[in-house]
Every structure is written in structure tokens, then in C-alpha cells.
């Protein structure tokens, strides 16, 4: 499930059960994630951007908290659900991100992930003042400037991953006989050098409980499929129709192959904005009411679904049959559509024998059936 603000519809904050005044409190996020965990969901993602939207609207939610900190704040309040905050990679330091996600993995005892996002906005670059980014039109074919931003993101993930492995699991020895706390032979310089940055290492944070927390990315186009294929464990894609799925998977699998990662599991989830009610007319009416406040039909990068949990279950199973590992649902309005997922969709899928009835693992990797990976540096030595 993907969390953002009061839900993905820009008018959702005006719904009677919305809590727009609580948006900047910990309790707001804690309640949502606790509800998601009650529904046995695999994970929540917490969306983020560095800056505000570049408009001057006063009739929509404006302002947001840092997603990594929100994730850390709710981690101790939950026990099983995976927590994946978004980190903008274009302006931040891979060294800081690596230890922050490692720490999220410690405070959640193995449930952390990282969704990387490329920022193409010149106004976000101006917030940092370290580089300028030329205007990039995302509806046009990929330019070298855009490709470069995604290459940089791949380097960023590479550094983050190397730093997670820069401590072997048994580096801390506490050997009173020799007076040594660590075995320095089990701490590794990562020595990454690339066109965008160089990072020496090792991390200051020991290897996190999962070894490698899951890396995720959302993709709509070639360069982003490539990033998933090269760098990610989890890809989020936005099929309009079931027939789009095969093409997207071919692109991602091709990029995996090109990056010599064909043997590594990359789970692909379909994004879907959902408006759910017990009868379909209620859902479409609600969406129409929200659209009326917006003054236009709501459009998203992902497909929009309005209907019953049972109808959604049909679609989820159809997408699953088409090759996706599952879906990442974006609730149109919170908390309503979240509760419809946890109390409507999940029981429906359980009745059909297509969803867990209890958490089967204690880590996020475990929920995806992924083993704890060997350390790349330990293999070498």
C-alpha cells in the first residue's frame, strides 16, 4: 500500500473522515500503518518529494514531512509490516541514505526498504543550490540529461548497497584477550568511483538485520525500467490495462538480463489508485463527488479503480495471472479506502485462497520469500 497525505485524490482532505489537521503528527501515520498491519499487508511505502508543488494553490494539501523519519517513527509501533520510505537521490548523499535505511532496519528489526526517486525538477535543485537541472519534459523521448539522472540513481543504489555490506556480520568481536572490539579485516572500504561522486567507506553503521534492505523504484518509462532492472528488488509499474503488463515485464526482464541480474528475483507490483465501497455505485458516486470539488476528473500516472472490494479482487488476480507479483494500492481517500482494503479486499482474497491469513515471516525480505543475502565482501575473502 502506498501512503501519501490524506490519500491520492487531491480533494480527499475534505472528506468527513479525513484528518487534514493531524497530517503533521506522528499519531496520524501510526494509525494508518497500524491499520495496514492489521490487514496483513506486505508493506507500506511513504511517498516523498523535497519541495512543494510548484503552484500557488491554497485549496489542496501542501506541506509534508521527511519520509525516512516518518518511517523510523512508526517502526517501533508495528511488528511485521514492511516500511519503505521514498528518498530523493538526485540531491542527497548516498552515505547518509545508506546509514539511515540501515538504522530503519535496526529500529524495525528487519522490515526496512528504500524507494529511490529521481528529481527532474529545476525548482527542487534550487532548494539545494549545488547543481542546476535543465527543464526536462517527461512526455518526450528520453534525453541524455534524463538518462544521466537515472545513471546517477543507479550509482547511488550501488553505493548504498556496498555500504550495507561494508561490515561483515561477524565484524564485531569484543575480544578482551587482544583488546579489539572489531576485526578490522571484516570492515571494507567500498571505494566507489563514478562520474557523479566517489565514496570511500566503510559505513559507520554495521550491516543491517536484513543484510540488504529491499530497494524499490517506481517506473513509467524506459530509463526507469532500466533502473529497476539494474538496481532494484521491487519495481512499481503503472499498467493502464492488463494487456500492458506483459510489455512492462519484458522491458524489466530485458534490463535485468543486460545488467547480468537475470538470476536475481525482481518482484514487480502494479500501482492502482482505488476508491472502494461495498456497492459499486457508492464508490463511483464518491469519486464523482471528489472530482466535482476538484473541478475536473481525477487523473493519475496509475490506473484509477472505483468499485467494490470483490471487483478489485478480480482485477488483482487478473494482474497477478498476467505476471505481476502483486499490486501496490494507492488509497484514494484516507482512512476510508485503506479500511476497505484491510477489511474488504483482504478478507475477499483470503476467501479465494489467494492471500495470507497470518504473517509468515518477520522481515520484509521474508515476506517476499527472499533469503538473507551473503555479503559480497565476505564472499571475496
Amino acid at each position: 500500500m502506498a501512503l501519501d497525505g490524506t490519500g491520492w485524490h487531491p480533494s480527499a482532505w475534505r472528506e468527513p473522515d479525513a484528518r487534514p489537521d493531524a497530517l503533521f503528527t506522528a499519531a496520524y501515520w501510526a494509525d494508518l500503518v497500524t491499520e495496514a498491519e492489521r490487514g496483513l499487508l506486505d508493506l507500506v511505502t511513504i511517498d516523498d518529494t523535497l519541495g512543494l508543488p510548484s503552484d500557488a494553490r491554497v485549496d489542496q494539501v501542501r506541506g509534508r514531512l521527511d519520509a525516512v523519519l516518518v518511517a523510523a517513527r512508526i517502526a517501533p509501533l508495528t511488528r511485521r509490516i514492511g516500511i519503505i520510505p521514498t528518498q530523493v537521490v538526485t540531491h542527497t548523499e548516498p552515505f547518509h541514505a545508506s546509514k539511515a535505511i540501515a538504522t530503519l532496519d535496526y529500529v524495525s528489526t528487519g522490515r526496512a526498504g528504500l524507494q529511490v526517486r529521481v528529481s527532474t525538477r529545476p525548482d527542487e535543485a534550487a532548494l539545494f543550490g549545488r547543481r542546476t537541472i535543465p527543464p526536462i519534459r517527461l512526455d518526450e523521448p528520453t534525453t541524455p540529461a534524463l538518462a544521466e539522472l537515472f545513471d546517477e540513481a543507479a550509482d547511488y543504489v550501488e553505493v548504498v548497497r556496498r555500504l550495507w555490506d561494508s561490515w561483515e556480520d561477524d565484524a564485531e568481536i569484543r575480544d578482551a584477550a587482544t583488546g579489539r572490539f572489531v576485526d578490522r579485516d571484516k570492515l571494507h572500504y567500498v571505494d566507489f568511483t563514478g562520474p557523479f561522486f566517489s565514496v570511500r567507506g566503510p559505513s559507520i553503521t554495521p550491516r543491517p538485520p536484513q543484510g540488504q534492505p529491499l530497494v524499490a523504484a517506481l517506473a513509467h518509462r524506459d530509463v526507469a525500467y532500466r533502473l529497476i532492472g539494474r538496481s532494484a528488488d521491487l519495481g512499481f509499474v503503472t499498467p493502464r490495462n492488463t494487456s500492458d503488463i506483459a510489455r512492462m515485464l519484458i522491458e524489466i526482464r530485458g534490463e535485468q538480463e543486460a545488467a547480468s541480474r537475470a538470476d536475481q528475483p525482481v518482484h514487480v507490483l502494479g500501482d492502482l489508485v482505488v476508491f472502494l465501497d461495498d456497492d459499486a455505485a457508492a464508490a463511483t458516486d464518491r469519486l464523482a463527488r471528489l472530482d466535482e470539488r476538484l473541478g475536473r476528473p481525477y487523473r493519475s500516472d496509475a490506473a484509477v479503480f472505483a468499485g467494490t472490494p470483490a471487483d478489485l479482487a478480480d482485477l488483482v488476480l487478473e494482474w497477478h495471472a498476467a505476471g505481476l507479483s502483486g499490486v501496490r494500492l494507492r488509497p484514494g481517500a484516507l482512512p476510508h479506502d485503506l479500511r476497505q482494503i484491510t477489511r474488504g479486499l483482504v478478507p475477499e482474497l483470503q476467501r479465494r485462497g489467494a492471500y495470507r491469513t497470518a504473517y509468515e515471516a518477520g522481515t520484509l525480505r521474508g515476506l517476499f520469500g527472499l533469503p538473507r543475502p551473503a555479503n559480497r565482501y565476505a564472499l571475496r575473502s
Binding site: 482532505w13 475534505r14 472528506e15 468527513p16 479525513a18 487534514p20 489537521d21 503533521f24 503528527t25 506522528a26 501510526a30 523535497l50 519541495g51 512543494l52 494553490r57 491554497v58 485549496d59 494539501v61 501542501r62 506541506g63 509534508r64 514531512l65 521527511d66 525516512v68 523519519l69 523510523a72 517513527r73 517502526a75 517501533p76 509501533l77 540531491h91 548523499e93 552515505f95 539511515a100 540501515a102 538504522t103 535496526y106 529500529v107 528489526t109 527542487e124 534550487a126 532548494l127 539545494f128 543550490g129 549545488r130 564485531e172 569484543r174 578482551a176 583488546g179 572490539f181 572489531v182 570492515l187 561522486f197 566517489s198 565514496v199 570511500r200 566503510p202 559507520i204 553503521t205 554495521p206
Partner: protein, 444 residues
């Protein structure tokens, strides 16, 4: 007249030789449960705040990763945010570097932490410049040493602009009228200075404290002036009454120049302690701890830092080196703050030699003497008495306690000394406010 109130902070045991990892009671330095234990002890004892230090590269000596002390720490922001979930009142402060971060991101993180902790965030602003640490960052080791304080000052000023870019009444979130914001331009800012050229809109609405509490460490002339201008609390290392009073008078005297009252800046020396049932017992324990903190190997490493020479062939139970320290940049050890203590290595070496001569001490004994002595040693009653006197006679406004055991090193102090300070009427028995600014009595 009401009694002057003591402010107490708890320093999570550091990545240095003060922390004794070989003690059977020593637990994990990285598991979240250790941080929870430590934070809850501090909160149970009504401490003002807990404190995390920073180190952005593993220390090295003789070209190798330093392996004698505790190594490894979590990300400061992430662990403080997580601690906000398991505590209600204690302040959550962390050290964040102004060299290897950008103002927009740090302001966003502290404003978020302040929201998520309902007003308990504090920031110890430090500045470094070394290329050694820079090798872990995009920026690299770019900053000339003489620009350290300039960047720190401008960094802090930039974050202040960002924190103040929301006044606090913009978010109305009124579903009936459909107005979420009162101001379409909320968060608008622009900063142009020697170090920064940034502009746009800050994403985080004003947090409960408005700005995090600002802490500053350092005793230098520049550090004192920086604190007098901008900080809410200052860390010092002055452990004697005389030195403490002199520093206190000096720094408090600088505040008027910035339109601030003496109470607007709290002076908090870093403080170690050893408790016992009797005075003799406490001194015996203190000595034993110091021997653990400064092993023979550790003593040699300390001497190498001062002499800037490889002394691995020396006997720690033998004399100090007869040769003189190598002057200039310290090349033997990297990434540790204590190196900078030795501003004049020759003079310091002569002090060490005089001490060795006068008391007939070995190399290791000298290092124990000059680095390890606890600030307060005695029975709980004697320690409470001495600490209270320290504050009541204006040698400080309180203390940042540095225990030597993770995570239980604060427990005994909390159980035995805090109640005595409370009995005297020198320390709160309940939190009166909810924010860190309220605990410290400092206003934005």
C-alpha cells in the same frame, strides 16, 4: 529566592575509549533496545534531553581502522525519530555536521523530528573540514579550515530562514471553505551568502518548537562567540569549579552584545562520574574504570596521537618517549576529535613529562591521569552535593552526563543521585512542560 534549577542531559556512550565494552554489563551499541533502555532511564529520571554524538568516518590510526574502542553507530535522525515513539517527554538531540549536509535537508529533517516528537528536537551544530571524512561524501574535502565557522554560521542562519519561512498560522485545513492554506506563498525563502545560494519554498509547516534547540560544543574564542550569538546551550569540558566559573562568566558576559539575557544560554559541561557506598569504594571503582578505559594499548595510541609518531614498540608501563613530538599536521591518526586537543604538541608533551617526573608515573599512568579522571567521584550524597554546588555557584547550569557502560550506565545515577538533587529542590520531580525548550527554559 527560588533555588537555581539543574539541567541534566544524558550522552549515549560514545565511540571512544570512555565507553568500556569489555565490562560484563556492556550491551549492544547498535541494537535499538539499547537506545530504548537508555532513553527510558533518562526520561524516568526527568532528564532534559538525551544526546547523540557524530562521527562520519571510522577512525584510523597508523593507516588502519582503529579497533580498540567501540565502533559503529546508527543514523542520528532515524534513531531519534524512532526514540520519539517510545518516550513522551525527554528531549531528543543529535549532532549534525554543517559541512557534509545541506541546509534545506537538515532543516527539513529537524522540522520533521520536531513534529514527530511533539516539540522535543535539539541540534548540536558541529563543523568539520577534514578531507578524510570528506571522502565519504559528494562534496569531498573541499572546505578550507578558515571557512569552517563561516560555513557553520551561514548554515545555521540559512536553516533559521527555513524554519521561519512558515509563521505557524498558514495551515487551516478547513473542509467547509475548501481552504487548506491561508497563504499561497507559505514557506517561500531565499538565501544568498558566501556558502549558499538557495531559494524556493520550504516543505515543512512550522513545527511545535518553531526551531529545534541549538546546542554548540567547543571552548575556542570563535566557538564561544558563535554560542553567545546563536545557541541555546553550550557544552564545555571544564570540570573544576574555578575553570567552570571563569568560563561561565565569560560566555554569559557575551550575551548582552546579541540582545540576549544570561538565562538564554545554558552552560552544560560534559561530566563523568563514579559512585560507591563509601568514598573509598567510589575511588576504587573509579580507578578500576580508568584502567579499563586506558589499556596499555590505548595508552600507546594516545601517545602516538600526541607525538605523531609510531610508538608501537614502546612499553606502556615504561617511560614517556624521550624524542620530541613531530610538529605540524597530525598524520598518524585520522577522524578523531581528540587530536585537535593537542594544539601545541610540544607544550603538552612537556606537561606530560613534568607530571611523570613529579609523580613517578609510567606512560600509561600519565595517559590515565590526563584523560581519564572522572568529574565526580563519591557516595551518591557526596556527588549530589558537589554537583549542586557546581551549579549554585555558577560554574554551570547543569551537566551532560557521559556514562561508561551501554546501555545501563545511567541507571545507578538515576536511581541514587537524582532523588537527592530533587530532595534539595534543585531538580524537577515532574516535567512541567512538554517541549525541550520548556525543559531548558530557553525561547526561540
Amino acid at each position: 529566592m527560588p533555588r537555581k534549577q539543574i539541567h541534566l542531559a544524558a550522552h549515549f556512550p560514545g565511540v571512544n575509549n570512555t565507553t568500556v565494552w569489555s565490562d560484563p554489563a556492556a550491551g549492544s551499541h547498535i541494537e535499538f533496545s539499547s537506545f530504548v533502555h537508555f532513553a527510558r532511564t533518562a526520561e524516568r529520571a526527568k532528564f532534559d534531553f538525551l544526546f547523540l554524538a557524530e562521527g562520519l568516518r571510522l577512525r584510523e590510526q597508523n593507516g588502519l581502522i582503529y579497533d580498540l574502542d567501540v565502533v559503529g553507530r546508527p543514523d542520528t535522525f532515524a534513531v531519534l525519530a524512532a526514540l520519539a515513539a517510545v518516550t513522551d517527554r525527554v528531549g531528543l538531540t543529535g549532532t549534525i555536521n554543517s559541512t557534509f549536509n545541506e541546509p534545506y535537508e537538515v532543516a527539513r529533517q529537524f522540522a520533521t523530528l520536531d513534529h514527530l516528537s511533539a516539540g522535543r528536537a535539539g541540534w548540536n551544530v558541529v563543523t568539520s573540514w577534514d578531507a578524510f571524512t570528506g571522502e565519504n561524501f559528494r562534496r569531498g574535502g573541499f572546505l578550507p579550515q578558515d571557512k569552517r565557522y563561516l560555513r557553520a554560521r551561514e548554515f545555521l542562519a540559512a536553516t533559521r530562514v527555513l524554519f521561519d519561512s512558515w509563521t505557524g498560522d498558514e495551515v487551516v485545513a478547513d473542509p467547509a471553505s475548501g481552504r487548506f492554506l491561508t497563504d499561497p506563498d507559505a514557506g517561500r525563502f531565499a538565501v544568498r551568502s558566501d556558502q549558499f545560494d538557495i531559494a524556493g519554498r520550504f516543505a515543512v509547516p512550522r513545527s511545535p518548537q518553531g526551531r529545534p534547540v541549538i546546542l554548540q560544543a567547543g571552548d575556542s574564542e570563535e566557538g564561544r562567540e558563535f554560542a553567545a550569538a546563536d545557541a541555546d546551550a553550550i557544552f564545555t569540558r571544564h570540570s573544576t569549579l574555578e575553570a567552570g566559573r571563569a568560563f561561565y562568566a565569560d560566555v554569559k558576559g557575551r550575551l548582552a552584545r546579541y540582545g540576549r539575557a544570561p538565562d538564554d544560554l545554558k552552560i552544560l559541561p560534559a561530566t563523568t562520574f563514579a559512585l560507591g557506598d563509601t568514598d573509598a569504594d567510589a575511588h576504587a571503582k573509579a580507578y578500576a574504570v580508568r584502567r579499563h578505559q586506558v589499556s596499555g594499548q590505548t595508552a600507546i595510541k594516545f601517545a602516538e596521537q600526541l607525538w605523531n609518531r609510531d610508538l608501537s614498540d614502546r612499553d606502556p608501563d615504561g617511560p614517556l618517549p624521550v624524542e620530541d613530538p613531530i610538529p605540524g599536521e597530525n598524520t598518524i591518526s585520522k577522524g578523531r576529535a581528540s587530536v585537535r586537543m593537542y594544539r601545541d604538541p610540544m607544550a603538552t608533551a612537556n606537561e606530560w613529562r613534568a607530571l611523570a617526573e613529579a609523580k613517578n608515573l609510567s606512560l600509561r599512568d600519565v595517559v590515565i591521569e590526563v584523560t581519564g579522571r572522572q568529574s565526580f567521584i563519591g557516595t551518591p550524597a557526596a556527588v549530589a552535593d558537589a554537583m549542586d554546588k557546581f551549579v549554585q555557584t555558577d560554574a554551570s547550569d547543569g551537566f551532560v552526563l557521559v556514562p561508561h557502560i551501554t546501555p545501563g550506565g545511567l541507571d545507578e545515577f538515576a536511581e541514587k543521585v537524582v532523588p537527592l538533587l530533587q530532595e534539595r529542590g534543585s531538580f524537577r520531580t515532574e516535567y512541567e512542560g512538554t517541549t525541550l525548550r520548556e525543559h531548558l527554559g530557553v525561547h526561540p
